[in-house]
């Protein structure tokens, strides 16, 4: 049984087709990178996995069960911005998930439970290299540190799937490669299934195990919204070579140019 399976999924807003004919099976432990032109529905796809959007047609299953129609603790998320709580210190940001799980009414842990949660959160912070900053507020951290915190915060509740929506898009290149190492390390250590959107095709080509390219295969210049994007390439990362990289890049460029012309 696949961890995530999509069966002929469509997403439409009125007559605007965003995604069409999506069929996909992802096994536990895979690391999928999602690339494609902007406006090609990558984020919509992620939001459907998250439960924030529902498919207009078709179905999504998670470990064989229909995907819940709202976000839940089995699917963690890291956004590009606003992923951490500004009013909580670094340590309390990570403890929050543990507290919510253990204290349904008050949302706060006390005594021994609190000590255990703090210990667990500190281990998680150490794993992402943030232990020294545990009493600071997120606004006092750099962008890279905030994303490390967001990862730690998501992983402390042990989600089955980790969704990353361009998590490193706003970071400097040097920091970004540090973050790649960290994500690969966490993925391996926690046995996660990862879906990561990236704008950077190169990132998609070597990070993870599987590359999914979202693109429009049908164009109607008179009605640019009549056809949606679908998965045009679904490749194991090892099998990608230079020629293919150029082809995909050209495809994605063309879609972006078409969209710009249509607009």
């Amino acid at each position: 049984m696949s961890r995530v399976a999509l069966r002929n999924v469509w997403k439409e807003y009125g007559d605007h087709v965003v995604l069409e004919r999506l069929n996909l099976q992802v096994e536990a432990g895979e690391f999928c990178t999602l690339v494609g032109a902007s406006g090609c529905g990558k984020t919509t796809f992620l939001r459907m996995l998250l439960g924030e959007e529902e498919p207009t047609r078709g179905g999504i299953t998670l470990d064989g069960e229909p995907l819940p129609a709202e976000p839940g603790p089995d699917r963690g998320i890291v956004f590009q911005r606003y992923s951490v709580f500004p009013h909580l210190t670094v340590l309390k940001n990570v403890m929050l998930g543990l507290e919510l799980r253990a204290a349904p009414l008050s949302g706060h842990l006390l005594g021994a439970g609190r000590r255990r949660a703090r210990e667990e959160a500190r281990e998680m912070l150490a794993a992402v290299g943030l232990e020294h900053a545990r009493d600071q507020y997120p606004a006092q951290l750099s962008g890279g540190m905030q994303q490390r915190l967001a990862l730690a915060q998501s992983l402390v509740v042990h989600p089955r799937i980790l969704l990353l929506d361009e998590p490193f898009g706003a970071l400097d290149p040097g920091i970004r490669s540090d973050m790649h190492r960290l994500v690969l390390d966490l993925w391996a250590r926690h046995g996660l299934t990862v879906f990561m959107i990236t704008h950077d095709l190169k990132e998609g080509f070597y990070l993870g195990t599987r590359l999914l390219v979202f693109d429009k295969v049908r164009h109607d210049p008179q009605a640019p919204q009549a056809y949606g994007a679908t998965i045009t390439y679904d490749l194991p990362v090892g099998a990608t070579d230079r020629g293919l990289y150029e082809t995909i890049r050209a495809d994605v460029r063309k879609t972006e140019t078409d969209a710009a012309v249509a607009a």
Partner: protein, 276 residues
């Protein structure tokens, strides 16, 4: 020479410039008062500083012959009590309804048009209703303040709650939070400093409604006293009272600002970085 828009005053220059209008106003008052008193020593419109001082002494130090109370302090106590009750109740209503309206679409759908309608009723227009329903004593004054500012606070906090990044609410759900937990641990703590901001903004209106209510029916209070002594053209009492009310309003504002800073250290960082 730099352009005017690029010219930043130094700290001392800034302070001096800030004080200048106050000094000018005082000077203008002094000159006008002197001129009028030279013409008519019994003029009551612009009393000299000496007679203002006498009046302050009479009101703030000597007990009143009739009641035995020192009037300024009795008035201040009565007014501040009404103000604190009215603003406090409004803040609680604002917090409860603002967060519920902002965070829960069903509540918003049901109550938002009603709150909006309520906030459009001019509070002064229903003051007679309040007097009829609650009588002429304390309750109607407090209710007038609540009626005047609570709808504003509710609507402001509803807006602030809705402005919290959607990402944070989604994130809290992926950490397993229920609606109640998310309101308690994610929404409320982030709305509290904004509540203090809203209270600060509504204090001016709160004073307005307080003084209006006291002017119409009261037996003590700052507004009551001003409107009482107006009958005798007692500018020597009115002017210090107005200055005192202004000072109280200023101090309340400063106190709330300091409280925000001390109680929510993260808020300043977050606002400065644009992530709150």
């Amino acid at each position: 020479m730099k352009r005017l828009i690029n010219f930043q005053p130094s700290r001392t220059t800034g302070l001096a410039l800030g004080l200048l209008p106050f000094v000018l106003l005082l000077l203008a008052y002094l000159m006008a008062s002197d001129a009028r008193l030279a013409e008519n020593p019994n003029d009551k419109l612009l009393p000299s500083f000496a007679s203002l001082g006498e009046a302050v002494h009479r009101m703030a130090v000597e007990p009143d012959k009739r009641t035995g109370e020192v009037l300024l302090w009795a008035d201040t106590g009565a007014s501040l009590r009404r103000l604190a009750l009215g603003v406090g109740i409004s803040a609680l209503i604002g917090l409860a309804f603002g967060v519920a309206l902002g965070a829960i679409p069903l509540v918003r759908a049901g109550l938002s048009p009603f709150v909006e309608g309520l906030s459009l009723i001019p509070p002064m227009a229903i003051l007679p209703v309040l007097f009829v329903v609650f009588g002429l004593d304390e309750v109607s004054k407090v209710v007038l303040i609540v009626f005047g500012i609570a709808p504003f606070i509710v609507r402001d906090l509803q807006q602030r709650t809705r402005e919290l990044p959607r990402e944070l609410i989604v994130k809290a759900q992926t950490l397993g939070g229920s609606t109640w937990q998310i309101v308690l641990r994610v929404v409320l703590p982030q709305i509290l400093p904004r509540l203090l901001d809203a209270v600060r903004l509504s204090l001016g209106a709160a004073w307005l409604f307080l003084i209006a209510a006291e002017a119409i029916a009261a037996t003590e209070g700052l507004g009551y006293r001003i409107f009482l002594v107006r009958r005798y053209l007692a500018m020597d009492v009115i002017l210090p009272y107005v200055a005192w009310i202004t000072l109280l309003a200023y101090l309340t504002d400063v106190a709330l600002r300091l409280l925000t800073r001390a109680a929510f250290p993260w808020y300043r960082h977050a606002v400065a970085k644009g992530v709150a």
